[in-house]
């Protein structure tokens, strides 16, 4: 596997360092060739920067991509927004030689060059495509069979598709495949692909942001989801933090919000404490408790062994 740099992004490092913790744990456990590199800035965030100054948006993203271009490594990020913004700019520049040379004439002044050769991956499709479901199954100690999981892809994991090219933008499958490989049921529900609405919190519309969170959480409660699983710090903020705020006002949903890397870590035998999940604002206890209560089922290996060597259809 090609070496890759991890792009953590501002939100994970500033607000949710425990997400960095669980991501490092799983990257280490899989022995993946990752490294941390100097010099990254904000990706930059689209709604804040692109709306005010498109050229600054492109230049900043191009510089970040140039850092990995120079090292000849790829880039993987556990942040949905970061990948999407970097890939959008990479796509724009690769499709527009004139703009690319203008950007490069500025980058040259600081000794950098954007070539756009490195691949930019979101962690989830990266695990699906590059690590693979078989490798995940081999490292799992315990699966999640019997657990009902609601997935939230996060818009920018898969869109815009012309820049990311990693899944069907309107009917994505890869995250579902990973959850099913971990033995859980991936619930299908009306608001599955609905945007989390966190962006509304960034434009001084907190009530509307809560309203968006409420729509999805209400549906999840009604279909009996054990957890909402996602892989985007912005969506995490929306569903964990804003759910907590609603709980404080007496509106209780009780839907634990779990990061993809945390779920993977749990299945590999790490505890919720080791993975930093105790820092969540909405309790993850109900999910862990239900999962633990199912622990007396025979372990996977025994079930497979029994299927192969015990009495079966052949005799």
């Amino acid at each position: 596997m090609k070496e890759f740099a991890v792009f953590w992004g501002c939100t994970i490092q500033a607000r949710f360092p425990f997400i960095e913790k669980s991501t490092r744990i799983v990257l280490e456990a899989f022995g993946l060739p990752y490294r941390d590199i100097d010099g990254f800035t904000c990706c930059p965030e689209k709604s804040l920067v692109n709306n005010i100054d498109h050229a600054a948006f492109v230049l900043t993203a191009a510089r970040n991509v140039a850092l990995v271009d120079e090292l000849g490594v790829d880039l993987v990020s556990p942040c949905t927004g970061c990948v999407s913004n970097l890939a959008t700019v990479k796509c724009e520049l690769n499709a527009n030689p004139k703009e690319k040379s203008e950007v490069n004439s500025l980058l040259k002044e600081v000794g950098r060059e954007f070539t756009g050769k490195s691949k930019l991956h979101h962690l989830v499709p990266f695990f699906h495509d590059a690590v693979g479901i078989l490798a995940i199954k081999q490292r799992m100690k315990r699966d999640f069979s019997g657990m009902k999981i609601a997935l939230h892809y996060g818009c920018h994991m898969i869109r815009p598709s012309h820049a990311l090219r990693n899944d069907d933008p309107l009917n994505p499958q890869k995250f579902d495949n990973l959850i099913r490989a971990m033995g859980a049921e991936s619930l299908q529900f009306l608001t599955k692909l609905m945007c989390c609405g966190q962006g509304l919190d960034r434009i001084d519309e907190h009530d509307k942001a809560l309203h968006f969170a409420r729509i999805k959480l209400r549906e999840l409660k009604s279909i009996g989801a054990d957890a909402l699983v996602l892989c985007c710090p912005s969506c995490f903020l929306q569903f964990d933090n804003n759910q907590f705020l609603m709980e404080k006002e007496g509106e209780k949903f009780g839907i634990p919000v779990i990061y993809f890397t945390e779920l993977l870590g749990l299945s590999m035998g790490y505890t919720a404490e080791e993975l930093g999940m105790t820092a969540h604002r909405v309790e993850v206890e109900p999910f862990i408790k239900k999962w633990e209560s199912m622990a007396d089922r025979p372990p996977r290996e025994e079930a497979i062994e029994a299927g192969l060597n015990g009495p079966n259809l052949i005799g």
């Binding site: 501002c10 939100t11 490092q13 500033a14 607000r15 360092p17 425990f18 960095e20 913790k21 490092r24 941390d36 590199i37 100097d38 010099g39 990254f40 800035t41 904000c42 930059p44 965030e45 689209k46 709604s47 804040l48 920067v49 692109n50 709306n51 005010i52 498109h54 600054a56 230049l59 900043t60 510089r63 970040n64 850092l67 500025l106 980058l107 002044e109 600081v110 950098r112 818009c155 920018h156 869109r159 815009p160 598709s161 012309h162 933008p169 309107l170 692909l193 945007c195 609405g197 962006g199 509304l200 960034r202 434009i203 001084d204 519309e205 509307k208 309203h211 968006f212 729509i215 930093g276």
Partner: protein, 149 residues
């Protein structure tokens, strides 16, 4: 001004379609949010009134409209173009400006949370590229000023 950033021919097609309206989360959940009205006003040359509207900021940039659009265009482009003009005139949500200022000043939207990192046993965060970033922004500014002259 809008002609420079928008493809009005494609928008003309948009005004007769509206496929995006049935998939856009803001259309579904924010009363009065209707980009079809915005598109028609842009085509009629009456876009000014939208610059002060909350609606242009309520586009979540989820790109659903782009993906469902048979032109792969989507009204997000129209909303983004209006936001850019509004922001240039200083009409924008206050939080947006705060975020932009922090970005320009520090190259990031927040600094790594050091005490929490220590508690979690995370390594020292890598150096940011703030100095180089600031130099690039000033180069961009210089280039723009030269162009004006």
């Amino acid at each position: 001004m809008l002609e420079a950033t928008l493809n009005l021919k494609l928008l003309e097609m948009c005004s007769k379609c509206g496929a995006c309206f049935s998939i856009c989360p803001s259309c579904m959940h924010i009363p009065g949010y209707d980009p079809r009205a915005v598109i028609n006003d842009i085509l009629d040359g009456n876009y000014e009134k939208w610059l002060t509207s909350r609606h242009i900021w309520q586009c979540l940039e989820c790109h659903h409209c782009l993906e469902i659009c048979y032109q792969h265009y989507g009204f997000e482009n129209a909303m983004a173009a209006l936001r850019t003009i509004a922001a240039k005139r200083g009409i924008h949500p206050t939080q947006l400006k705060r975020g932009w200022e922090m970005f320009v000043k520090t190259s990031r939207l927040g600094e790594p949370a050091l005490p929490a990192r220590k508690k979690l046993g995370l390594p020292e965060p890598k150096a940011s590229g703030a100095d180089e970033f600031k130099k690039l922004l000033s180069l961009l500014k210089e280039k723009r000023e030269k162009k004006k002259k």
